[in-house]
Amino acid sequence: MGKSNRTFSLSVLSGKGGVGKTSLAVNLAFGLHDMNINTLLVDCDLGLANLDVMLGVSPGKNIHDVLKHGLSLEETVCKLEKRGLDLIPSASGVVGVPELDEGRRLFIIEKLNNFLSDYRFLIMDLGAGIGPTVLSFARMTHRRVVVVTPEPTSLTDAYALIKVLFMKHGVADFDVLVNMARSEEEAVAGYERIRAACDKFLGLPVRYLGHVRRDDMVSKSVSRQKALVRFAPRSPAAEDITRIVERLSEMRANARDDIAGVSPLSPDGVG
């Protein structure tokens, strides 16, 4: 056995697009960095990548070069801060993106596992829906954050995603984050619907990670290409995000023993 693993991996997913995955992934990463946790953010939305745009970086190489041409991850990594916060970008508008088949999946897992030892946190920003690529990435990580909004369609699509991952791939570990909520009550009510449905139809307990309020500062920060927690740290959404970052940090601390004996990423998840 090699050294014990200390990288905690998390994927950010949703059934429906536009619910705030990418915005949240960025801000969670910056928030973790601010707690002195070395973090790597990976854009896994192979078809509709926009982490680079959202952050105003213009990457030279990206994850497609790794998948297609066997480039090393070192050659693609972008620094978001001087120390301790990096991004592996994807490319937007790539046409005819192949789905992540089993060969590519194992390849990227191996590459990332060898690359991750300096990071304490890995956040993967996924595409929306229940396509093969999403399912592939979602089951590699230690934990999954399912982003929903209180809207019924978002809840239904998130439930579909959880159901597929659970029934077809045996993934049973989900933390639900309710974004764009008008109030905490509305967020909890939305979460409760998913929880009750998972319990009733799947016999699966899911957890509540928290909520982030609807806040115009989120889109303003995007248009300035800055993370909200930097641009407007006192805004309601930034405050909510900071609370969630603290929970994630706790989650990692609690899981330390569990992840010590496994890789950061594995072909069929952990636990």
Binding site: G129, G131, Y159, R193
Partner: protein, 279 residues
Amino acid sequence: MISDEIDQARLLEELERLEREILGRCGKGTDDSLSRGLLLARVIPGMTEDEWYEGTGAAAFENSWMAFPLNGNKVEALAKLNEKLEKLAHAGDRDYLSGLYNRRFFLRVLKREMTKAEKYCMPLALAIADIDDFKEINDTCGHVAGDKIVKHVADVFNSGIRAGDYAARIGGDEFALILPAAGAAESGTVVKRFLERVRDIDKQIGEDCRLLRCTLSLGVAVYTGFPLMTPEQLIACADKELYAVKRNGKDGFRVTPVDDADAAESVVRNDEKHFLARG
């Protein structure tokens, strides 16, 4: 397999009772002419009572008869019966008339291959084929001619099927092919070759019955594990293509990738959706 001695004894008893009953029914239990008689019984795997009475069984009288000597050595006969029954159990995956896999086996393999496609993001082609104007042939030339055609088509599949692919007879004149890892282009090439070979048949299939043509219509659905489907749903997709071919003059094939429209829709049942909406 009957290895248990008690079971064996009980079975012997039963056989002797059966023997007495049969001899009794012949009305000559002690007649010399029956002291060396033979009872023949037969198991036909995959055949239903209806099919038997419809007469399609007539073509299938070959090696699956079982012999039981009347007034002979019961223990020896029993051992032979066992052996034969075991062989027939293996044949349970096959369709008795065509020698292709039967419907039950087909459904089992389809389910297994769909799970693989889902897990490894690999394509899987399912083809459903139907003999054109089969009912007409049956009605005008009779069942024997009909069976001949079924056998001909089965032979085409049997001799041309690639290693790793599966051919099954899933209905009277309905066949299915499972082509693991085959996408739209590859499955098109495979089924096209079968269609051509099926046309090549001796048209004189009965003394006074000459076929105009022997052709297949064929629908192919290519599944890549998304959106998730049940085997029944995938079969319905291939069937839809098959009917489109039938409407367009038969003797041809159509290939369709499984649609990803309404993916979430196909995963979430109505009761789940209502529950989520109402809370």
